[in-house]
Symmetry: C2
Subunit: 219 residues, 2 copies
C-alpha cells in the first residue's frame, strides 16, 4: 500500500459473507440453499449470505447471517476462502468471504421446517445456482474431503458414542465412495483420534458392535 488512497476515486465495491452449511442426509453430503427473493437471480437457489456491515467483523457478519438467514445460533463456522472475480455479481464488484460448517442434520431440521425458502440439496444433484455459488460449494466439498484424512472432522456428525460402522458411513457419504472396511478401521484406529469404550451398542443388533468415542485431546 505505497500509494495514497482516495475513496471517491474508486468505483463502489462491497464485501459479503456466504455460508456453506453442509450435512449428511440419507447417506449423501448435502448443502443448505436459500431461494433468492430479489434480483439479481430472483427465485434462483443460492447460499445464504449477506453484506458485511461497515462496523462488523467478518466473523460477526457470518454469525449474524447464520441467525438471520438460516435460523441457527452459535454454530462453529470456519472461514473457508474468499471469492472475488470481477464479474461474479452483476450489480457491482463484490468480494465474498465464504464460511463453512459441517452440522448434524438434526440441527438443520428446525430452520428447514420453519422456512419455505430453505432446502437441503445433495451435492450430486444440485440445482442451477446463482452467482459463483457452485464454485464455492465445490471448493468447500474439496476441502472437506481432503481434510477427512488428517483432521477429525467427521465426528461433528456423530453422537458422543458411535460404532466404527457409523463413522465409516459418514466418511463414505462425504467422499461419495465405498471404503474397504478393514482398511478403514485400521486407519481410524491408527489416527489416535478415537478409543473403544468397552460398551456395546444397544437396540437389539444381532451382533452388537463396540462403541467408540473421541479421545480427550492430549496436552
Amino acid at each position: 500500500m505505497s500509494q495514497s488512497y482516495d475513496p471517491g476515486a474508486f468505483p463502489p465495491l462491497a464485501v459479503t459473507v456466504d455460508l456453506v452449511l453442509m450435512t449428511v442426509q440419507n447417506g449423501h453430503l448435502a448443502v443448505l440453499l436459500q431461494r433468492r427473493s430479489e434480483a439479481p437471480h430472483k427465485d434462483e437457489w443460492a447460499l445464504p449470505g449477506g453484506f458485511v456491515g461497515i462496523d462488523e467483523s467478518l466473523d460477526d457478519a457470518a454469525q449474524r447471517i447464520l441467525a438471520d438467514k438460516a435460523g441457527l445460533k452459535d454454530a462453529w463456522l470456519e472461514q473457508l476462502y474468499s471469492f472475488g472475480d470481477p464479474g461474479r455479481d452483476p450489480r457491482m464488484r463484490i468480494v465474498t468471504i465464504a464460511y463453512f460448517a459441517l452440522l448434524p442434520a438434526a440441527e438443520l431440521s428446525a430452520p428447514l421446517a420453519a422456512r419455505s425458502d430453505l432446502m437441503l440439496a445433495p451435492l450430486d444433484t444440485l440445482p442451477p445456482l446463482a452467482f459463483d455459488h457452485r464454485t464455492i460449494i465445490d471448493h468447500a466439498a474439496t476441502r472437506l474431503r481432503g481434510k477427512l484424512d488428517y483432521a477429525p472432522v467427521a465426528f461433528a456428525l456423530l453422537p458422543p458414542r458411535f460404532t466404527l460402522r457409523a463413522l465409516q458411513d459418514v466418511h463414505e457419504a462425504i467422499l461419495g465412495i465405498s471404503l474397504n472396511k478393514p482398511a478403514f478401521r485400521r486407519r481410524m484406529i491408527d489416527t489416535g483420534w478415537i478409543e473403544g469404550t468397552g460398551e456395546k451398542e444397544s437396540g437389539g443388533a444381532f451382533r452388537p458392535a463396540e462403541l467408540y468415542r473421541v479421545k480427550p485431546r492430549a496436552s
Copy 2:
C-alpha cells in the same frame, strides 16, 4: 442477500491483498517485510500489499503485487485467510485477503539486494508491524506448522535431491524446535512422499548420506 443494495448508502470500503512470503534463513523461519513509504504507519515495517483493482481478480492482484512490491514473478501463491476487523486500518474499512508462499531463500536474494525497503525478518525477532500484520504472520506460521505433518510443503525449500538431514533441518527451522532423528526419519518414510535415489551426497562428507527425492505423484 435479501435486501436491495444502494452503493451510495454505504461508507467507503476497500479490499487489499497482503503477501506473506516466508523462507528459511540460517535455520530460522523468516518473512519478507517492506518499510512503508507513506502514511498511515509511515516508516513502519509491513507485509508487501496493495489495493485490488476494480477489474482485477484477487489472484491477479496478488501476482501483480508480488511483481511490483517484491520483484518476484510467477511464484506459487496460496490464498491464506481474509482479515476484516473494522478498526484494522485508520483510513477506512479495508478487508485484506492474505496470500502465502514458502520460497527458497535464494529466490528472495535478488529483490532483497535490489530494494533497500525490503528485509527478511526471523519470526522470533519481528520488529513492530503496521496494521494487524503481526496477526496475519502468526496465522500463516500456525497454518504452515500445522501443514508440515500432512502435506509435502517443506520440499519447496529443498533441491530436487536432498538428504534426510537437510529435510529435518527445514522442519526444525519451520517448527522452531529440535526433532528426534530416528522418529523423524521413520515418519518421513512412512508418509510415502519420498524415496531413496540410491545415490550418496557428494562434497567429501566423512560418511556421505543417501540422497532422497520426492516421489512422482501416484494417479
